[in-house]
Symmetry: C2
């Protein structure tokens, strides 16, 4: 399965608030989000599975792929499309062995990490952070657009940009070679997630 | 695979201290431990996998089965014998679906939970806590020996007791129907884990 989304939503349960993650995902997809990753660091594994299943059910029939952050067992049980791994998560080559059919995304924050990627194992990269962001205070140093471009050039697989992406810096990412970009706060924290998604996508396509 | 250990060690990384978990496991097995569960709630998934692999290598050739607490993906990747699930971990029936060959242990703290166990899914139960324990401050109310006996009677699969087990209350567990018992602190916190294991086992067999 190829994976080249334009607007990739990564969920933040706290930011979705009382609306709940599934409702925000539904609205975001109506606004044009074309890939979703459930990221749920807190709570029990059982709660995490329930959340992933609820989002999976919202996405059923939409054709929008669903990935799960970190929890390969949850992804396998829920029967979603893929997992997204960080550099301190389970090694991608090990995950590929137990999950031959899952899309595997990997976070990279520099050229060396991108060069080491085996395209037989990893399907796509999340490259970032583009700018410093409050969502992930432990993230690596911001790459900027030039840094993103260098990582994409070094990558053997398609890349999306992530981290600190706003309508006002989308233009700078245009010619970096990314297929699209991830957002968290810009949609999960928006009063109107559908509208936020539509505006982000319009900005991206306009430039 | 049947699973009916006498002395089942559950690891606590902090209590093992500078000796490291693998060295404590090696000593404990020399003292008679006949099943090991790696429980590692902190740290990254990658660290957890490295710990499980190190313990697996210590146990290679000993015939002592190794289970992993919670992390089914880690268990599958490391190729260990089983997983141990709590009531808020992934549901056992879902885990059985993605891991047909793993031993599955489940924690239960009362008769109703034991009655609901499907022996086609779950291989054995950890019944407890026997007494209140500092290792798991969020545990359910202590069962005492009578409570353990009632849970074992309600269970369709073999049971081990866990939680607050010391040499001085082993006798009371004798006729509860358990195959054996789990310890954490009594071995991981012991100055001489091999001797601690040997003495626990001698107490258990003596009575």
């Amino acid at each position: 399965m190829s994976f080249a989304p334009s607007l990739y939503l990564v969920t933040d349960t706290a930011q979705c608030g009382d609306r709940g993650v599934p409702a925000v995902v539904r609205a975001a997809v109506a606004g044009g989000v074309d890939a979703v990753q459930v990221r749920a660091k807190h709570g029990s594994d059982r709660d995490r599975l329930a959340l992933v299943v609820a989002v999976r059910d919202v996405l059923a029939g939409t054709g929008v792929p669903l990935l799960v952050n970190d929890a390969v067992d949850v992804a396998l049980i829920a029967g979603v499309d893929g997992v997204h791994l960080g550099q301190s998560d389970l090694p991608a080559e090990d995950v590929r062995r137990i999950a031959p059919d899952l899309l595997i995304g990997l976070s990279v924050s520099g050229v060396e990490q991108a060069r080491r990627v085996d395209p037989a194992v990893v399907d796509h990269l999340g490259v970032g952070p583009v700018r410093d962001t409050a969502t992930k205070p432990d993230a690596a140093a911001a790459l900027g657009a030039d840094g993103v471009r260098a990582v994409v050039a070094a990558s053997p697989v398609p890349c999306v940009a992530i981290g600190g992406i706003h309508p006002d810096n989308l233009d700078s990412l245009r010619d970096t070679g990314i297929t699209g970009f991830c957002v968290v706060s810009e949609i999960c924290g928006a009063a109107d997630p559908e509208r936020a998604a539509r505006e982000l996508l319009a900005s991206w396509r306009r430039a």
